[in-house]
């Protein structure tokens, strides 16, 4: 049994909700409540960063066994702080800077060449001919590539096919050992273009033509994309048209990016609402906090406050956001 929230934490919860509302008030317009929360936040985060950096990096370093190597960072850090003492010696601060920048530069050279050039070239250079996965011969690992086939289902299929080879997809996906929910999953993934029909067959060497087309498109997207970011030629004539195709594909890609990003943003707002409702704490605590009440009270305070504040500076321009 966990004891009820103490008054200190109840107060905290209410403060948290008030600050949430104060920051959301920025949507109405820049106002004292928002500014207060903003500066409070900036201040707290600075205070937070400084301590956490000292504690988790510098202090623990001192606590734990030191090696002669640790002399180097010590000196570098000292050089960085010199500039507080004397403007004349401030140039010493360039040493730590130079070292850190060089460290990162060197790392990105070797890091990127492997992951962003090597592996990406490798992935881009796949065979354009894509065979359908043969349910009667493919190993389990390959079977679970088929849409809707989980490793568990793959294992079952292997057993089933040794008992009796599959004659058709329907036959394969409706074998008795599959549970109802598994069948539902599989049925859900049926489809001629990207679904089961496209990816799997019961004979070997069947070509997945949509896969081929997609592969070609993938290659085209890559090449035209590279062309668009090729700066040594004026984009005219054929090249111009090609690079235009490139930027079109690019834009479709950005569209996807937009979609995902928007999802992310909305998720954040949802979480704030859930938080006020007390979704992330135990029902007992939620009942104690009364988040909705706190939210309404805070909003009333803020609205009243903003109203008074606007009356005060009547004549001065309306809140910035309204423009």
């Amino acid at each position: 049994m966990t004891p009820a929230l103490g008054p200190v934490d109840l107060l905290g919860a209410w403060i948290a909700i008030f600050l949430t509302m104060a920051i959301l008030s920025f949507l109405y317009g820049d106002n004292p409540f928002y500014k207060l929360a903003e500066h409070l936040f900036i201040g707290v985060s600075i205070g937070y960063i400084v301590v956490v950096q000292i504690k988790n990096n510098l202090w623990v370093k001192l606590e734990r066994p030191l090696s002669p190597w640790d002399l180097v960072p010590a000196i570098l850090i000292a050089m960085m702080f010199v500039k507080l003492a004397s403007r004349k010696l401030a140039w010493l601060g360039r040493f730590p800077l130079a070292v850190v920048v060089a460290l990162y530069a060197g790392q990105s050279v070797t890091g990127l060449v492997g992951s962003d050039l090597g592996d990406q070239i490798k992935t881009a250079s796949r065979s354009l001919i894509v065979d359908k996965i043969d349910l009667n011969s493919a190993p389990p690992g390959e079977l679970s590539q088929v849409p809707g086939v989980s490793p568990a289902i793959a294992a079952k299929l292997v057993i089933e096919r040794t008992a009796r080879p599959f004659t058709s997809l329907d036959d394969a996906l409706s074998r008795p050992s599959l549970t109802a929910s598994e069948r539902a999953d599989l049925a859900d993934e049926r489809g001629l273009l990207v679904g089961t029909e496209a990816r799997a067959a019961t004979e070997s060497n069947r070509v997945d033509w949509f896969g081929v087309a997609s592969g070609v498109l993938l290659l085209v997207a890559l090449l035209t994309g590279l062309l668009y970011f090729y700066f040594s030629i004026a984009h005219t004539g054929v090249l111009g048209r090609a690079s235009r195709v490139g930027v079109w594909i690019l834009m479709v890609g950005f569209g996807a990016s937009f979609g995902y990003t928007v999802q992310g943003r909305i998720a954040l707002a949802i979480a704030r609402a859930q938080d006020i409702r007390g979704t992330f704490v135990s029902p007992a605590d939620a009942a104690q906090i009364h988040g909705e009440v706190a939210a309404i009270v805070s909003s009333v305070i803020i609205v009243a406050g903003i109203w008074i504040w606007e009356r005060r500076r009547a004549g001065v321009a309306a809140p910035g956001e309204a423009s």
Binding site: G47, V50, Q53, N57, A105, T110, L117, S214, L226, A256
Partner: protein
């Protein structure tokens, strides 16, 4: 000197980082393990620098009573408080033991029933677990019992011990776990949970609303590019919400296909191009050609 020496030092370190990648020798690996820590340590110190810098920038504004100086006071004050409560005060004020456990004279009455008893003296908000029991007065079976006393909020000591109880033993557990200060102390965690976290999250949540208004007021199919962008955006938006699959199962498939083929294809072109640019710039930095980050000579 003032400009060349840092660059030279940088060149040495940077070149080492590149060469190191191609040398599998364990001795080199061990050296790298040390070198790699430098970056982190210096960066950490730079944050401290930033804190000091903030005071340097803000204080004059307050002295000169510049516009919004009041908020600047709030800013500095909250920063100062957050730093102060981050100090390990208990090093000064001392640490009190979180609790004690001792035995009293055994009671024959309990012994007859082959039981033992553990009494708890603790404030109401302290959770004391005697084995699995959490009452203030527990009759337990003899033998070893684990005793754990803690407070609910993060940032308090915990009292843990074991008692071996013979039949008839009566033990007392007096626990009052003390509040911790410092980076993971009670007050700091409180401020983090109830000020830092909600502000941080809400700042981000504002974006949901800005997205909506941007979509309404700024996002226009002015040309074919924008139209394409919008089209795929709407498809992905629909597919990402459960409603997409509810409308038609091919929507998620289509959106996945856009991601796998069109997005990945063009994205890969960008990744490679960017990688080349980054590598080249990196090379320029470690070869000392690029010194803009050190300021003009």
């Amino acid at each position: 000197m003032k400009n060349t020496a840092p660059v030279l030092l940088g060149m040495v370190v940077g070149c080492y980082m590149v060469v190191e990648y191609f040398i599998p020798h364990y001795a080199v690996r061990d050296v790298s393990a040390h070198v790699l820590q430098w970056g982190g340590l210096v960066a950490a110190a730079a944050y401290v620098m930033g804190g000091i810098n903030l005071v340097q920038v803000t204080w004059p504004k307050i002295r000169r009573r510049e516009q919004d100086w009041g908020y600047k006071v709030v800013l500095l004050a909250s920063a100062a408080i957050m730093m102060l409560v981050g100090l390990p005060w208990r090093a000064l004020i001392g640490v009190r033991a979180p609790g004690y456990a001792w035995k009293l004279a055994p009671s024959p009455e309990l012994a007859r029933r082959h039981e033992a008893r553990v009494l708890v003296e603790a404030p109401d908000d302290v959770i004391v677990a005697i084995g699995t029991a959490t009452a203030r007065d527990n009759v337990v079976a003899p033998g070893e019992v684990a005793i754990k006393a803690s407070r609910r909020p993060i940032g308090y000591d915990a009292f843990e011990t074991k008692l071996v109880l013979a039949p008839g033993d009566v033990a007392i557990v007096a626990a009052d776990p003390q509040m911790q200060w410092g980076a993971s102390g009670r007050v700091r965690t409180w401020i983090y949970d109830y000020v830092f976290a909600p502000c941080n999250a809400t700042m981000f949540a504002l974006l949901a609303f800005f997205v909506a208004s941007a979509a309404f007021r700024a996002f226009r199919a002015r040309n074919i590019e924008a139209a394409l962008l919008l089209g795929s955006a709407i498809i992905v938006l629909l597919a990402q919400a459960p409603i997409g699959r509810w409308l038609t199962t091919s929507l998620p498939h289509l959106s996945d296909w856009i991601l796998d083929i069109l997005s990945n294809g063009s994205r890969r072109a960008i990744i490679m191009g960017a990688a080349v640019g980054a590598i080249a710039t990196g090379l320029r930095v470690i070869l000392g050609i690029e010194r803009s980050h050190l300021g003009g000579d």
